[in-house]
């Protein structure tokens, strides 16, 4: 093998790796949203299209080529809200999560878990969102600004019934409680279990629109849940909640 052939192979590997990275990021981006089904469908069509061409199935190749070209327009119309959200999120990345060291993160999560545990014991509901890379500033402004250190006592005080801020969500930004009483978008999916109320629907809604880690405490079932990218991890205890939240936050850095 001469040096030119090695160089060509090297370039091919780099090109495939870049393509892999881009495709993985696209799929990861849509994972947990209803648009992932469309992405899967497109992937399947591409694979089929490739094999039709490879095996010389000309009629099927023609059919898929024409079908795919027109279906792209239909997909753009049907999924325009998801595409709009996706494009908006692309330009809104921030890197604050990495600014917190492990000790600070542990301390913050311990306070949140302690509060969730106590609130669950007292049958008090709570909704707490932790900002990751996607800024939650728009939602922060919908609540009452607090800007305080995260403490278990303050979280419990805010969610205590009859407190003016107990209704709505709390947002934690850059390791501080940014606001409380914030309004989160409700999930649009219809496949949500009826046992989940508005609090869980708001948590799922926010987790689908942003990469925030959302913690909910159910006042009826005393259940502590963690919601991330549209996935709900229910029935967590104090320890599991800490470990799961830490795992997600560290993985997202």
């Amino acid at each position: 093998m001469n040096s030119t052939a090695i160089f060509i192979h090297w370039k091919a590997i780099v090109e495939i790796l870049i393509l892999w990275f881009v495709l993985y990021q696209v799929m990861l981006f849509f994972e947990g949203t209803r648009a992932i089904q469309v992405v899967r469908g497109i992937a399947l069509i591409l694979v089929a299209f490739f094999f039709f061409q490879k095996f010389g199935l000309e009629r099927l190749d023609w059919l898929f080529r024409n079908f795919f070209a027109t279906s792209v327009i239909a997909l753009l119309i049907i999924f325009h809200p998801e595409i709009r959200q996706g494009l908006a999120r692309l330009g809104q990345r921030n890197l604050f999560v990495s600014a917190m060291d492990e000790e600070e993160l542990d301390q913050m999560l311990k306070e949140i878990c302690k509060a969730a545990d106590s609130l669950s014991g007292y049958k008090i509901g709570a909704l707490i969102a932790l900002e990751m890379h996607d800024p939650l500033s728009g939602y922060v402004e919908s609540g009452v600004l607090i800007d305080s250190k995260v403490s278990s006592e303050l979280i419990q005080a805010i969610f205590t019934p009859n407190n003016p801020l107990h209704d709505g969500g709390m947002i934690i930004q850059r390791g501080r409680i940014a606001s409380a009483g914030a309004l989160f978008p409700l999930v649009q999916r219809l496949d949500i279990d009826r046992i989940f109320g508005t609090r869980h629907r708001a948590a799922l809604g926010l987790s689908e629109e942003t990469d925030a880690v959302v913690i909910t405490v159910s006042e009826e079932r005393q259940d502590i849940s963690l919601i991330y990218q549209g996935k709900l991890y229910a029935n967590l205890n104090h320890e599991n909640l800490f470990l799961k939240a830490k795992e997600i936050i560290q993985a997202g850095k």
Binding site: L19, W20, L28, F50, E102
Partner: protein, 45 residues
């Protein structure tokens, strides 16, 4: 130092445990797209 090593090990493990199927599917797709583009470019030449 030990904390840093643990973090690197965790990150390496994370590459294989975080969405492994998504990674595999995207790799297959990347190879298919690359082969398709290569073939199209060859025909065009």
């Amino acid at each position: 130092m030990a904390k840093k090593n643990l973090s690197i090990a965790y990150r390496i493990l994370h590459i294989f445990t975080y969405h492994p199927w998504l990674k595999l599917i995207s790799l297959i797709l990347a190879v298919i797209v690359w082969l398709y583009v290569k073939e199209e470019m060859f025909i065009a030449q």
